[in-house]
């Protein structure tokens, strides 16, 4: 009987711990980049750990995005997704337009790196090592995301925020031909 209680308690504890990673209670399916205009803070349903802040501040948000690759029969898929159940605002009543824009540009950076990867796959004449390519572009994305946050300081430096927005817009525009997640080979 004692063992059964311990097992049940462990499962409950594990479930609760998982909630801080992905909010299964308010789960929403990942949103592809093509639908980014529909995203609002209401989609940021992830749970923040109690007392957790960004640099001691609560006026920030956290967005979870993913660059997902897959090889299908005679084509490749490179999806760029936003994970609502893993994204959260540090303070529930923060709904600033500027902050949402800042977070969405994190999503656009992931999309840009996704398009770079699609371009590489499309133009490659050699055998494609998808895992290696994914690692390479994830690293590029990681560096870009860090630089974006550092220079804009999470949109606090508005001039830099505007500059980055214009830059990312032009990057996406330059790879407009690689908007589709599917690359036929």
């Amino acid at each position: 009987m004692g063992n059964k209680i311990i097992i049940i308690l462990s499962i409950v504890a594990l479930f609760i711990a998982m909630l801080w990673d992905i909010n299964l209670l308010e789960y929403e399916f990942p949103i592809p980049h093509e639908n980014y205009k529909k995203i609002t803070f209401d989609n940021f349903t992830g749970l923040n750990k109690p007392g957790n802040t960004l640099y001691g501040q609560k006026e920030f948000a956290f967005i979870s995005t993913e660059l997902r690759t897959e090889k299908q029969e005679n084509k490749y898929r490179v999806d760029v997704l936003f994970h609502p159940a893993r994204s959260y605002v540090y303070k529930k009543n923060i709904r600033g337009k500027e902050l949402l824009t800042h977070e969405l540009y994190h999503f656009h950076i992931t999309e840009y790196c996704g398009r770079l990867l699609r371009q590489t796959i499309a133009s490659s004449k050699n055998k494609i090592n998808l895992s290696e390519l994914e690692t390479k572009y994830l690293e590029i994305e990681n560096q870009m995301q860090k630089q974006y946050d550092y220079e804009t300081y999470h949109s606090y430096v508005l001039g830099e925020q505007n500059r980055w927005q214009a830059y990312i817009d032009s990057c996406l525009e330059s790879l407009k031909d690689y908007e589709s997640p599917i690359i036929e080979k």
Binding site: Y55, G56, Q57, Y150, Y153, Y156, V157, L158, G159, Q161, N162
Partner: protein, 260 residues
């Protein structure tokens, strides 16, 4: 045995709680993890220094490796210019920030303005750097104020607007005269502070005259001439000589223009 194990566990928990409470380290009111401080961060930091520094402790200062980064952060002009020079931000927002920083600097000066039993400043270098910080904040603050006056005016070219704008510039010049007069406390400064003062007073006033050549520097010239007589430090004397030359040239140039 079970009771002993349970009691040991309770004791360990209590001890670790006490130890963690006793740990030193900076107060979390100094938001050192943040790249830029906003006004509320500054106010928290200054309040922490003013009201929560124990009697046997020192304020954040350069000699203390633990608190030196705090003081450097407080007087970092980058933190101010990142807001006040950001053209994407609105004038009202920037003015509010600038006014807050201006008052904060004055508060900071009063806080650090302590003397010891030998009538020497307790924080001489820090005090000079607070003065320097003030001399860098003021031009940004006054310029923003003037920009807002012009922006809100029905007729920016009117005599009334020009009078207000020039009046603000003269107020700023008057404040810089106070920075010159600060050196009457020369003997309360140490050698490093004197050296710092010589550099900052020269650099800041040179920039002031360059940015506002049309201002009236007569009172500043008079202040420099008066204070020069009592200065002993060679580097400070040199700086004041340089300032005197600049102001004299400025006045002569204006007189020439008037005659033309």
């Amino acid at each position: 045995m079970r009771i002993l194990k349970r009691n040991s566990l309770i004791l360990a928990i209590i001890l670790s709680g006490i130890l963690s409470a006793c740990n030193g380290g900076l107060s979390d009111k100094f938001h050192m993890e943040k790249r830029y401080w906003d006004l509320s961060d500054y106010n928290e930091a200054v309040n922490q220094i003013k009201y929560f520094t124990k009697e046997d402790e020192q304020y954040p200062n350069y000699s203390n490796p633990e608190t030196s980064p705090v003081f450097k952060k407080i007087v970092s002009i980058e933190n101010v210019s990142v807001v006040l020079k950001d053209e994407a931000l609105g004038l009202s927002h920037k003015n509010k920030f600038a006014e807050g920083m201006f008052k904060l600097q004055q508060d900071l000066f009063k806080t650090y303005n302590k003397i010891d039993r030998q009538d020497k400043f307790v924080y001489p270098v820090e005090l000079v750097d607070i003065e320097d910080f003030g001399m860098k904040v003021q031009p940004l603050y006054f310029q923003l104020g003037n920009d807002q006056i012009v922006k809100n005016a029905t007729d920016p070219e009117s005599a009334e607007v020009k009078r207000m704008v020039n009046g603000n510039v003269q107020t700023m010049v008057g404040n810089f005269v106070n920075n010159i007069n600060f050196i009457r406390h020369e003997e309360a400064l140490n050698e490093e502070a004197k050296k710092r003062y010589a550099e900052t007073i020269k650099d800041n006033i040179t920039k002031l005259i360059s940015d506002y050549p049309d201002a009236n520097y007569t009172s500043m010239l008079s202040a420099v001439k008066t204070i020069q007589k009592r200065i002993k430090d060679a580097e400070i004397k040199k700086s004041f000589d340089h300032i005197q030359e600049l102001i004299t040239a400025n006045i002569e140039q204006k007189e020439k223009k008037t005659q033309e």
